[in-house]
Symmetry: C2
Subunit: 237 residues, 2 copies
């Protein structure tokens, strides 16, 4: 987890979609900075906290973005209870060491789309409240809970009836796999895939089938957030 | 299209996967810079051009990456003939103004995975040979041809039997749509979706169904590269 998160217990959200989602959700918005025109447009949605009106020049100074938006919020990082997998009524995503902030943010946004409430990341994964992750998640952190836990412990202590599906290069084609409504989908690191110590804890290895170009080789792999999305879609439809 | 591309007719590829794919493919590698250890490992694959051995310090100077890899290639930007859609034997992707280089690169990588040979981008889309796109495409630009054409012309002049499927927020659920082997998938801009002038040229509007969290709202949309990937998977399986 990031230094920023550890030091302050706060994170920054920018952009109208992001900030409006946090204002409407359970995460506490501590400070809100916005331009006059944004505040005018969204006055009904801003009750707490009292916003500070700033101009574009000031926004440029505090923003992490190349092209700052009209609104920036400082929010409290939520502390979630560890998941009780015995009460799980849906799919759960476990991410083993996802490093790229854009990938993690996109995975959170995709989980939100498919109604997945909880993601468990290995402790070495990127911090979900890193500004780049928040940016890519487009407000979905207001709904999806991201936990950091040792995946080996989690998988060793899960109820037997929850099957673990691991995304690998040489698994069963995902089209042919029986897909339960509750279950655990395990996604590995962008470069290395799923860690060696987690491989024996997989119940079924799954793979997204590729289609070879005529006479040419094909892509070696899919991007981690793309693979996650296709698997979520295949399980949920 | 980018200034870099226009000015030089050359692009930069970095990283072992990328460079090896270009060396094995049809795109001409003009210059190759690599560390001694990379050259030793891959000597059999490097026949042309004669590589320049450089050390890590020098690599850091010429690289676009924060963490430079061991190899960098300067390649010639290919000039492709416009696609003849009457000979199309597969799906074709048309991208209407994709702006984010990471998204475009990921879409190219995904197209490669699903055996899609051609992507047509609107002229305002990001340059496919921008270093960030090349990076995210992970060598797939060695196999997938990216064209820049006016989509309105292309769609107006396509054969009648090729159906245009447009990804929108209020279309038919993709699960229920009849999916031909040949056809055109149209993806819109990250923020604005498909342009107004292209909407009347869509034969069937399609949507990826979402699942609502209990009592909560859900994500407003999916990332453009994620939506593209799920649609390609749904059509190809």
């Amino acid at each position: 987890m990031g230094k920023f998160r550890k030091q302050h217990g706060l994170f920054v959200a920018e952009g109208s979609t992001n900030v409006l989602d946090f204002l409407a959700g359970d995460i506490k918005v501590v400070h809100l900075f916005a331009t006059a025109s944004w505040l005018k447009k969204h006055s009904k949605k801003v009750i707490k906290p009292v916003p500070a009106e700033i101009d574009e020049k000031e926004m440029k100074k505090i923003s992490f973005l190349k092209n700052p938006s009209e609104v920036l919020a400082i929010c409290k990082i939520p502390e979630y209870e560890p998941i009780d997998l015995t009460t799980l009524s849906e799919l759960s995503l476990k991410l083993d060491d996802i490093h790229d902030p854009g990938n993690l943010g996109t995975i959170i946004r995709t989980a939100d789309w498919f109604g997945i409430n909880d993601i468990i990341c290995s402790p070495d994964s990127t911090d979900a409240f890193n500004p780049k992750v928040v940016q890519a998640s487009m407000g979905s952190l207001a709904r999806v809970r991201v936990h950091y836990q040792h995946l080996e412990n989690v998988l060793n202590n899960k109820p037997d009836y929850l099957k673990v599906f691991g995304a690998v290069m040489d698994g069963d084609p995902i089209d042919d796999v029986a897909k339960p409504q509750k279950g655990i989908i395990l996604i590995g690191n962008e470069a290395r895939g799923i860690s060696g110590e987690l491989l024996p804890l997989i119940d079924q290895k799954i793979t997204i089938p590729f289609i070879r170009h005529s006479q040419k080789s094909a892509a070696e792999s899919l991007n981690a957030s793309i693979a996650t999305a296709i698997i979520c879609y295949a399980f949920r439809k």
